[in-house]
């Protein structure tokens, strides 16, 4: 992701498939848990670690909160994000003791409640983040798996296609796609980001599959007569997917940031849609007299991105036996 916002997340990319690929025999595991003799899978091992990790719990809590806000903004505020009252509320300062009331975080230059706006702006960011990640995950994994498993000319062709899309600057490319649309809804923005973003996942998946396909259990399955699709879906995919999931989780934060950047530049969501990026753009004009118009959407945006990054970091550490 990159990225401005979007760059290939380098750390996550260094998590190679070797680590999660081969199930470690129980007696070699440093912390083999309560039931000796009963091998735990990589994921239950990771879950065992994650449950006691503060950074995971905090990020999971935050993500749950943001998902709830995105799904039911009405639970958090009754005020409308679009109604402005210029006579009373022009750039009114926050009333920090009036919790959860429309005036809590102040009003913007059109007299709209900032609290209502950041609550109602959550949905767009979350939807775009999740949609881009879903598309990228499916497309990238598919291409990466085919390139890594079949090798040869399939790999050559697919890798050149990946290189081609990687050569286009992420944010700039998305801007070029988006200016040609007059109406830019969440789906259009998601597609524009996904078209340019899937290559990171494809590369990680390819590397991961190349390492997994040489494992003994894949050879064993093949010599027992398993077909290509069975080997790919039952043996390779489950063992190669871990690093891809970590990269996707960290990338989700990057996509939310990219969407906000586009909306900030005026090439993403626009009025009447409520978005944090658009509000930050709006707030920059009054930054010296009323910084709250810029600060509060920025805090929501950064907290959301932070939550997904922390989650990805925690899951990566839990999946990486080298760090145990």
């Amino acid at each position: 992701m990159p990225d401005v916002p979007m760059k290939a997340t380098p750390e996550a990319a260094t998590l190679k498939a070797t680590q999660p690929a081969v199930p470690v025999p129980v007696d070699e595991r440093p912390d083999s848990g309560p039931a000796p003799g009963k091998p735990r899978s990589l994921w239950s091992d990771a879950w065992h670690d994650l449950r006691r990790k503060p950074s995971f719990l905090i990020s999971a809590g935050l993500i749950l909160l943001f998902l709830t806000i995105a799904a039911f903004p009405g639970l958090f505020t009754d005020a409308s994000p679009r109604d402005g009252d210029l006579t009373q509320f022009y750039l009114q300062k926050p009333q920090l003791t009036h919790f959860f009331s429309p005036e809590w975080l102040g009003y913007d230059a059109q007299g709209r409640s900032i609290y209502a706006r950041i609550i109602h702006g959550t949905r767009a960011s979350i939807i775009i983040g999740l949609t881009v990640t879903a598309i990228v995950f499916v497309l990238g994994s598919l291409v990466g798996m085919l390139a890594g498993y079949f090798g040869g000319w399939v790999d050559t062709v697919l890798s050149r296609v990946v290189d081609t899309f990687m050569g286009i600057p992420f944010l700039l490319g998305a801007m070029v796609i988006l200016v040609s649309f007059d109406v830019r809804g969440p789906m259009v923005i998601s597609l524009a980001l996904a078209v340019l973003g899937w290559t990171t996942i494809a590369r990680v998946m390819r590397g991961s599959v190349i390492q997994v396909k040489q494992a003994d259990y894949v050879q064993a399955a093949r010599s027992l007569g398993a077909g290509t699709s069975r080997i790919l879906l039952r043996h390779i995919l489950p063992n190669a997917i871990a690093p891809v999931i970590v990269v996707a989780m960290i990338a989700l934060g990057g996509y939310i940031s990219a969407e906000a950047t586009l909306s900030y530049l005026g090439i993403g969501l626009a009025d009447p849609a409520v978005s944090w990026g658009g509000d930050i753009n709006f707030g920059k004009d009054s930054i010296r007299v009323a910084s709250h118009v810029l600060i509060f959407p920025s805090i929501m945006l950064s907290a959301t991105i932070l939550a997904f990054l922390m989650m990805g970091d925690a899951v990566r550490d839990a999946l990486d036996p080298k760090l145990r």
């Binding site: 916002p5 081609t164 286009i168 801007m175 530049l265 920025s298």
Partner: protein, 309 residues
């Protein structure tokens, strides 16, 4: 080595053609007619429009337009702006110095601070310093660049008065420092975290134990043995990052009012100046491809086990 470079150059050709073709198609799928737009509200003379289109080669089928564009590139012709008739290469060369200076300064900050912090954190993995560096870099990654930009502008320029809020003279390094810090913040955080992971992993390697056992001082073991091995993944990232920094300049140059490539491409996008956008993006793709090639060659220098036949 020579043969490897030739092979890599040959591999770059389809990638370059593919990437420019994609951008070309995206841009020319834009609704609206840039030539007709020149007339604005005035009555339109169809014959004049047709003549002008023929002059610019816009009456040809799209594939032929692209072919002409590609052939022009070999002569250093990046296309012509429709409204002003100015060659796009002129736009690039007049905007480039400011962006290059900004990017170079940001790159320097990224390398010095990023690698420095990463090594400190990696050597003290799990300690308080490590945790502080991890937290700060995580913040830098989660706060989007445009927010950091305005925060720095308000704090350093308006409140403290240490810097000018906008860049008046892009040849003055002192004025570029604040925008460069903003531009570097994201890369810096990535580089620090990447270096940290790499250093922490290599610190436990056998060769480090050997280095200590044969009596090397800690400083020498770290600076000669550990650094050389740990920097390989960092160099890859730094290479790709030069392209990212140039593209990220769109946001930073806008905030600090720097007249560079980023501002030029943003202006061209808002006026739907297709030729300029395609020209500048082509230029960025070229930079990206050349830098990735250089990084691959640099591997061999850092890791003598890698030899290109």
């Amino acid at each position: 080595m020579g043969r490897y470079v030739v092979r890599r150059l040959l591999q770059m050709i389809p990638v370059f053609i593919g990437a420019t073709l994609l951008v070309f198609l995206m841009m020319y799928a834009l609704p609206g007619d840039p030539v007709r737009a020149l007339w604005g509200e005035r009555s339109v003379d169809e014959a004049q429009i047709a003549a002008m289109k023929a002059d610019l080669g816009l009456d040809l089928p799209l594939w032929q337009q692209y072919l002409n564009y590609l052939l022009g590139l070999f002569r250093g012709d990046f296309g012509t702006q429709i409204a002003s008739g100015r060659p796009v290469i002129d736009v690039i060369t007049s905007a480039l110095p400011a962006t290059l200076r900004l990017t170079a300064l940001a790159f320097l900050i990224t390398v010095v601070l990023g690698v420095g912090l990463g090594v400190i954190a990696g050597l003290r993995r799990g300690g308080k310093t490590d945790r502080a560096i991890l937290f700060v870099t995580l913040l830098f990654i989660s706060v989007p660049v445009f927010v950091i930009g305005y925060l720095y502008q308000v704090f350093f320029a308006h409140n403290l008065g240490w810097a000018r809020p906008t860049v008046q003279d892009p040849t003055a390094w002192s004025q570029l420092l604040l925008p460069a810090l903003v531009l570097a913040s994201l890369s810096l955080a990535y580089v620090a975290r990447l270096t940290r992971t790499s250093v922490a992993e290599n610190k436990r390697a056998d060769y480090m134990r050997t280095a200590r056992a044969k009596g090397l001082t800690g400083r020498r073991a770290v600076s000669v043995h550990l650094m050389r091995n740990s920097l390989i993944p960092v160099v890859t990232f730094l290479g790709v990052d030069i392209g990212n920094l140039m593209a990220g300049a769109i946001v930073t140059e806008g905030i600090f009012n720097v007249n560079g490539i980023g501002s030029a491409v943003y202006r061209a996008l808002s006026y739907r100046e297709g030729a300029t956008v395609v020209g500048i993006v082509t230029f960025m793709i070229l930079v990206y491809l050349v830098v990735t090639l250089l990084v691959d060659l640099l591997y061999a220098v850092l890791d003598p086990r890698i030899r290109y036949a």
